[in-house]
Symmetry: C2
Subunit: 371 residues, 2 copies
């Protein structure tokens, strides 16, 4: 049995390039992309896997940063002997364009003004994020990725790779996502944006030198957290348990679930930029993997293989959306495998059901890399 | 065939009384309860039906106010020849205690200060709302109601009547509700409250003389609206339709669904008090029809009959919560009828599936009143 260990201490690296033309035709530059790599690239550069993070993720997918206790966001899946086995694969993860964890985004300095872009940052798309990833892959000397893999917005990026750059990938692992957002998904994002923009500290995005729009972003994140969990997982985690002690204020957090949401909201604002939240959620809402066509037409002739994973209790990205992806693959003659995992965790399952994912991904990558 | 007409022009009335002792033991007084009645009380006072409104409802259930175009919130169900047939029944609807539509609530004048109560208004419960309704029923000379009926929070009040005052009712019509809120339901309410309280205009509730916390309340209402609709009804209503014209601002409402939510949020703040929103949602979260016991023990010996209606696509008050009510009735030997209506409207179905409800309620009231 392989010992499943942590990859250990890792360091974020930075790739700078002149810039890129966005899907909107606007030019953005210079651009920095923050990334991490785990494992070694093999001599013929054929063992690289690109991980794609979700809304609030970053380049730090695995291991530990010097002096920190908290591992990367997919640490259970990345390391020696794990699903993305760093003894076999060269694993890359980069912070998305528009993000706030080292890659160029609205909080970066606009060279034209010497101040943060704020809303002068151009609108970005999932396609732009993937185009920046392509530059990074080129820079690392990789012609073809063994796999791209991600959940939620990471799954959207995987679909974008599949639709537009399938000659550069052998496979796509597409988890808990959709070809496009339903009105309900757009609605939840929009309420989050409204909450941010309703905060007077937001100041039309020009808050970098003053107090941050923390209360608005906290509310947005709280909404997010409800949609990431399931009715069942909330009931299991909190029940109707009341918090200890009674505070004098009438609208205090009486129930455990209220305290938890406030805590999660509060901790989020310390590590995330409110403008990035606006840009990224808008990119998700605007995304349509099929570009207005039928997705099976887009996929015609694609030779990359696809693994689609959905979770039973995920009501934010319900499994019918994953089945639409699989159906389009089948119609287009693309080799697609589908698995609906029996989980009560809701959408969060893509980060939490790591045992099930380990099983599925380990075998899938073995199959793909043996070809 | 009976002609289903509007009840016509109606007028809100006001019932004033000295006050009442709340479940918290605090005293509140004087109290005004706004109410409307439709139809005539029969000579032996046995044909009265009390309608119970939801979070944002009011006493105006049917007909038109002088000079207004918009009928009451359940107009399709209340009138001559309708489900609550005003040729047969004396129909009463009152605004809840804690509300802002004529009944005493946090926006009412505190006699101790001559200013609105704001957060000096005591915490209220669903039980307190029902106790105020009891005073009104006494005032109207009604010993026993033929039925109490309501959806959502109205259903909670119906359950409270059933649990605590069942000797005063012949039947309870309990629609799209729950014995108690799940953590997910509490969570949605809490985010709404946080959105209100995050608005700097809220000023710890003392906003009555200045600008209102409109942006916060708008966000709260937007969250509410998402939970009132279903994934399907949103898809049918909006699809991914974009709004006409492109506005220069990046985070404008691109999609129809965004514009709709903003509109619904904006129009809500014009007619609803933010503090009432806080008090009422908290009352819903604190409600537990079983008072910590098993509900079937509470119901032992109850002779009132129960009709429980749920809607298939209602994910805010899922049908399993209605089935819990029915199960408890059955265990306690209470005469209970259950119907799960096949609707795509989500929780809003209790206001929209009026044809189905008409069918169910018409026959149910006929059965109950024939005994």
């Amino acid at each position: 049995m392989v010992d499943k260990k942590s990859i250990g201490v890792v360091k974020t690296q930075f790739f700078d390039f002149d810039g890129l033309t966005l899907e909107s035709k606007e030019k953005l530059g210079p651009v920095t992309i923050a990334y991490e790599t785990y494992g070694e690239l093999n001599p013929n550069n054929s063992n690289a896997v690109l991980l794609l993070h979700a809304l609030s993720g970053d380049a730090h997918a695995a291991g530990f940063h010097e002096g920190e206790d908290k591992p990367g966001w997919w640490d259970d899946l990345v390391g020696p002997g794990k699903a993305f086995d760093t003894q076999k694969y060269f694993v890359i993860c980069s912070n998305i364009l528009g993000g706030c964890k080292g890659s160029t985004g609205p909080s970066s300095i606009d060279p034209a003004t010497g101040k943060p872009y704020a809303l002068d940052f151009p609108s970005i798309t999932i396609g732009d994020m993937v185009n920046a990833q392509l530059k990074l892959i080129d820079h690392l000397g990789i012609k073809k990725l063994l796999a791209v893999a991600g959940g939620s917005m990471g799954g959207m990026q995987a679909l974008e790779w599949l639709a537009k750059h399938n000659e550069r990938i052998q496979s796509a692992i597409v988890i808990a996502t959709a070809l496009r957002h339903s009105p309900q998904q757009i609605a939840f994002d929009e309420v989050g944006r409204q909450a941010v923009m309703a905060d007077p500290n937001w100041k039309s995005g020009r808050y970098y030198e003053g107090p941050l729009p923390s209360r608005g972003l906290t509310v947005a994140r709280m909404i997010g957290h409800i949609t990431y969990m399931s009715d069942t997982s909330m009931a299991e985690k909190f029940g109707r348990q009341r918090k200890n002690g009674i505070e004098p204020f009438k609208f205090t957090a009486d129930f455990e679930v209220e305290g938890y949401l406030r805590y999660r909201g509060d901790s989020f604002v310390k590590r995330f930029d409110a403008n990035s939240y606006l840009y990224i959620t808008k990119a998700m809402d605007n995304f349509d993997a099929s570009g207005g066509k039928n997705f099976h037409e887009v996929l015609k002739g694609v030779r990359a293989k696809v693994l689609v994973i959905a979770f039973k209790s995920d009501w934010l990205y319900p499994s019918y959306q994953s089945k639409e992806i699989v159906k389009a693959c089948k119609l287009a003659g693309v080799d697609a495998t589908y698995c609906e995992v029996n989980s009560t965790y809701g959408h969060d399952a893509f980060l939490l059901e790591t045992q099930q994912e380990t099983h599925l991904i380990t075998h899938y990558l073995k199959k793909v890399s043996s070809k």
